[in-house]
Every structure is written in structure tokens, then in C-alpha cells.
């Protein structure tokens, strides 16, 4: 499913937190703008769970605009007339970077033989990409949701690599509730008879039903009750009365089915398993002896955290937890909880206050 991105092939094996290493890892990426002669204007944008490197360019599979085209571009909050923007597909994913659908040394897809990866492994690959691009120190690293986890991981583990760290609607660790929702999704994928232990790449049928259910469940967590009620309420879909059956009677059912089926066309089921696992394993404090402040000890970067009041997946308390640790570490940190009705998805949607914060923080 790889698009037209540039692909970096790593010459050295990529060491992984799980103890193994990934040979001949590939990292697919997009860039926007021009790298300054002194290489000081680079901004790394990290994508969310089902995002990709097409942050501000047309998606090759769906034909839709980039996922943050509203924010990234000439004259936009992340101004590509000034900054050189890099966005790469995380390892484990399926848009050109090495993942379970990639071919292993034996010429067959890795499938479940792909090593289990962590958020820090993803960032290790991103750092290798920065090395290859000759970018020693980023003007900023920016990420929302899982992208925010990567931004925090980069700040904690490669503190000299970024001057500014912008973390939107994210967390330093997955809660039991977060893990529970992801487990629901993984079980839906693995219960699909077409999943076949992950070896479905050569088969006629893919585990689309399971993946669609996983996406439907996750999608509910991305929205707020208010947004769902306002958008759909209990309205019926293309009918006057209930069918007394199990068709999509309600508009919200029809919407979720549409979201689920659209997702299977652009995403690999095994990648969904690997990436959700990486997110569930994420616990930045645990990586640093149990104390989150220690993850940021001695940091010179400036941090900005943004949460949304309607986000119940990564609520404001999660951001405050990180802010508390940054304060304890003496880091320069800003934090704002923005009011937006869209739930967790607010970071992808039109929230003018977010644009102002992003632009102001990057100046």
C-alpha cells in the first residue's frame, strides 16, 4: 500500500526495546518546505495511531487531503515557507515503512513474525531518519495523540535533538481504560476467521470485518458524547420507522459502519495489532525508574502541552500529570486546556485556538 513517499533504507540494524533488532528497516517519509543552510528550521511531525506521513499532501490510497493540511503549509500555523517539515510513517505501520506486511529475509511477509515494537522504537527509527537528513537539532517536534507520545519519548530519550516539544491531546502512559479499548480492537481482529494467525497476505480475503469492528470501537473513543448527539442523536438512517432487525437503523450505526469499512481499505490489520500494542506498552515514567520527572531531568527544551475539555480518551488530567513532572524537573513548560466540542479528535479538526497556540509556540 506504499505511496509515492521517499524511503530511507537503514544500513545498520535497528535495535528494539524487545531485545531483538530489525534488519534493513525502511522508513517512508514526506517533507515540505526547504531545509535552511544551517539546518536549524526543521520540524518533525509525528502521526497518530492510524495516521501516516501524508500530513499535508494527498493520500495516495484515499485521494483525500493530508490529515493536518489545515495546519501545515505556506502561511499556515506550521508555515512551510519558514520551516522544513518532516513526517515519517512509523515502523510497524503500513504506508511504506517496515511493518508486518513488509517482506522478511525469506521473501514472505513478516506477518506475526514482525518483532513487537514500542513507541521508543518508532522514535529510534525517526532519529535515524533525522541523522540521514543531517538534522542534528530540530526546531520543534510536534505530535498529537500517539504522535504526542513520540514527541515526549524523543524529548526524554534524545533530549539534545529538539528545542521545542509540542504535545497535543496525549499522555505519558496508557491507562487501564486505554488498554482495555485497544484489547477489544485486537480481539476483534484476531477473532475474524480471515485473520488466519496473521498469515492472510496471500489469501483472497482479509480480516476486514474484525478490523472494521476495531475501528468502530476506537472511533467512538475519539468523539465526545456531545459531538455524537449533535451529529446524529437518535435519528434514523434513510427510513421512517425502525426495522425491528439488525440493519443500520440509526444514523450513528451507519456512520460507524462507513468509518470501519473505509479504514480497512487503507490500513493493515496486523499493523493495527502492533501499533496498539506499542501504545499500550508506553509508560515514560517506567522507562526512567518510575518517576516521570526523571525522564525530563536536565532538559533544556521548551515544552507546550495542549488538552481538550471534551477529550475523555486522554483527558486533561493526563496532560497535567506531564506538566507536573516537567515543573518538578524545572523545565520551561506551557499548558492550556482548550474548549472544543469534538472530543479527542479535536486535535485534527478546526479549533482556531489550537492554531494560535501552535503558531505562537513555534515562533
Amino acid at each position: 500500500m506504499s505511496g509515492a513517499s521517499q524511503v530511507l533504507q537503514l544500513t545498520d540494524p535497528l535495535p528494539l526495546d524487545g531485545g531483538s533488532e530489525l534488519a534493513q528497516a525502511e522508513i517512508a517519509y514526506e517533507t515540505y518546505g526547504t531545509l535552511a543552510d544551517d539546518r536549524s528550521n526543521a520540524i518533525l511531525i509525528c502521526h497518530a495511531l492510524t495516521g501516516d506521513q501524508y500530513v499535508a499532501s494527498t493520500h495516495p490510497v484515499t485521494g483525500k487531503p493530508g490529515w493536518w493540511e489545515r495546519v501545515v503549509g505556506p502561511g499556515k500555523p506550521i508555515d512551510t515557507d519558514r520551516y522544513f517539515v518532516v513526517c515519517a510513517n512509523v515502523i510497524g505501520s503500513c504506508m511504506g515503512s517496515s511493518g508486518p506486511a513488509s517482506f522478511a529475509a525469506d521473501g514472505k511477509p513478516y506477518a506475526m513474525r514482525f518483532p513487537v515494537i514500542t513507541i521508543r522504537d518508532m522514535v529510534r527509527a525517526l532519529v535515524a531518519l533525522l541523522d540521514a537528513l543531517g538534522i542534528e537539532r530540530l526546531h520543534a517536534v510536534v505530535g498529537g495523540s500517539m504522535g504526542g507520545m513520540q514527541a515526549l519519548s524523543l524529548a526524554a530519550n534524545w533530549p539534545e535533538r529538539a528545542t521545542r516539544v509540542l504535545v497535543i491531546a496525549s499522555t505519558s502512559r496508557h491507562s487501564a481504560q486505554n488498554i482495555a479499548f485497544h484489547e477489544l480492537g485486537r480481539q476483534a481482529v484476531m477473532a475474524d476467521p480471515n485473520w488466519c494467525g496473521g498469515d492472510y497476505y496471500a489469501a483472497d480475503a482479509q480480516p476486514d470485518s474484525g478490523l472494521a469492528v476495531a475501528r468502530m470501537a476506537a472511533h467512538i473513543t475519539y468523539l465526545s458524547e456531545e459531538a455524537l448527539t449533535e451529529k446524529f442523536g437518535r435519528n434514523l438512517q434513510d427510513r421512517e420507522t425502525k426495522s425491528f432487525g439488525f440493519d443500520a437503523d440509526f444514523q450513528v450505526e451507519s456512520y460507524l459502519r462507513y468509518q470501519g469499512s473505509g479504514f480497512t481499505r487503507r490500513f493493515d490489520a496486523n499493523s493495527y495489532l502492533y501499533i496498539t500494542r506499542a501504545m499500550d506498552y508506553f509508560d515514560l515514567a517506567e522507562e526512567h525508574g518510575g518517576k516521570l520527572a526523571d525522564a525530563f531531568a536536565g532538559t533544556t527544551a521548551r515544552f507546550c502541552l495542549v488538552s481538550f475539555d471534551s477529550d475523555w480518551l486522554y483527558p486533561t488530567s493526563e496532560s497535567r500529570h506531564v506538566v507536573h513532572a516537567l515543573n518538578a524537573a524545572g523545565a520551561a513548560v506551557s499548558f492550556v486546556e482548550l474548549s472544543a466540542p469534538h472530543g479527542h479528535d479535536s486535535f485534527l479538526l478546526d479549533v482556531p485556538a489550537l492554531d494560535r497556540v501552535v503558531k505562537g509556540f513555534l515562533e
Binding site: 515543573n327 492550556v336 486546556e337 485556538a353 494560535r356 497556540v357 505562537g360
Partner: protein
């Protein structure tokens, strides 16, 4: 250089260059911006209003959205050379506990507040029989954020009870400094405390 409110100007003037300052209830960051520009201060702020925080972040200031009553607990002991609380003490749920926190996170603490014992306030209450609305306390009793009115005399007493030393003090009527009979003549007071 922008024109600062007299209490903020006194604070800005007294702060040593290159120090670490936490401004609690920093509003749109006027004092922080001034300190950063004029004194190369490592300036941080806490502000409850998200619109103000947004304006601070847009200026590149490090400001955390939070309620001063609870957010101070997140900061380490003596992490700052100065903690600043300008015109916010009277809005705190427990000004006495707030003062403890200020003297914990800052090696020194500036506190400024409108003086409820100013003669104009006294006169309004005594002769009008109504809660004063004056230029230092400009809002009616039912809509004011001030929930604990305080006088210069009360504040000195609180500082003494808390074991805080008064290092310096400033008094103003409008823009002008006041010397003598401060509890009667000052509309605003600024104290620099240490412990």
C-alpha cells in the same frame, strides 16, 4: 517599554536580572514579558483563563493553565528566586495557605493587593452603608472575584503569624507613591517577603 501598573512596575524594578520568577495569576503575561525583555529573567506563569494562557503562549512565554489555589502544589520547593502574586491574594480561597505556598516555591515572594482600609473605602461603607465600589475595588459585591478583602494592617499580621519577614513595602494611591499612614492612605500595597 510598556507602561506597567504601579504595583507591577515596583515589582519589576525590584527583581534582580537573570533570576527565576513565577508569576501566579499572570493574566496576559505583561509582567513576564517585561521581565524577560528587560531583565533576562527565566519567567514562568500560572493563569486560570485559557484565553490569557493562549496569548502568553503566542508570545513565547511559559505559562501553565491552572487554578492558583491548587496548581502551586506542583512546583518544587524554592524552585524560583521570586514568586509573584499580584492582585490575586484577595481572590484566593485561603489566602493564608496561598502565602505558605508562595514562600515555599519562591525564595522571596511579592504580594500586591487593594487595601480595603483605604479612606475612600472606609468612607463609602461608613457614610453610604453599602459595600464600596471604588477605583481600587471597582466591581459590585455580587460580581467581584475578591472573596477575602484585606487591609495593610491585616496583611502585616498574617505575615507575622506565618513567620515571614517583610523585606520591602510599597504603597500607592492611584499612580502615586504614598509615604506614611499607609493603612489609611494606600489604595494598593506591595510587599516583598521572605522566610
Amino acid at each position: 517599554m510598556s507602561v506597567l501598573r504601579p504595583d507591577l512596575a515596583a515589582i519589576a524594578e525590584a527583581i534582580a536580572p537573570g533570576t527565576r520568577v513565577l508569576d501566579i495569576g499572570c493574566g496576559d503575561g505583561t509582567l513576564l514579558g517585561e521581565l524577560r525583555a528587560a531583565k533576562q529573567v527565566d519567567a514562568r506563569g500560572i493563569e486560570i483563563d485559557p484565553a490569557c494562557v493562549e496569548r502568553c503562549v503566542a508570545q513565547g512565554l511559559s505559562v501553565v493553565q491552572g487554578d492558583a489555589d491548587s496548581a502551586l502544589a506542583d512546583y518544587p520547593d524554592k524552585g524560583f528566586d521570586y514568586a509573584v502574586l499580584s492582585q490575586t491574594l484577595q481572590t484566593a480561597r485561603r489566602p493564608d495557605l496561598m502565602l505558605d505556598q508562595l514562600l515555599r516555591v519562591g525564595k522571596q515572594a511579592f504580594v500586591s493587593f487593594p487595601n480595603f482600609a483605604h479612606w475612600r473605602t472606609r468612607a463609602a461603607l461608613m457614610f453610604g452603608g453599602r459595600m464600596p465600589v471604588t477605583r481600587s475595588i471597582p466591581v459590585s459585591w455580587y460580581e467581584t472575584q475578591n472573596i477575602h478583602h484585606v487591609t495593610v494592617k491585616d496583611f502585616r499580621e498574617l505575615a507575622r503569624e506565618k513567620g515571614a519577614r517583610i523585606e520591602r513595602e510599597w504603597f500607592f494611591a492611584g499612580e502615586k507613591p504614598v509615604a506614611g499612614a499607609s493603612n489609611l492612605r494606600a489604595e494598593f500595597a506591595v510587599f516583598l517577603l521572605s522566610r
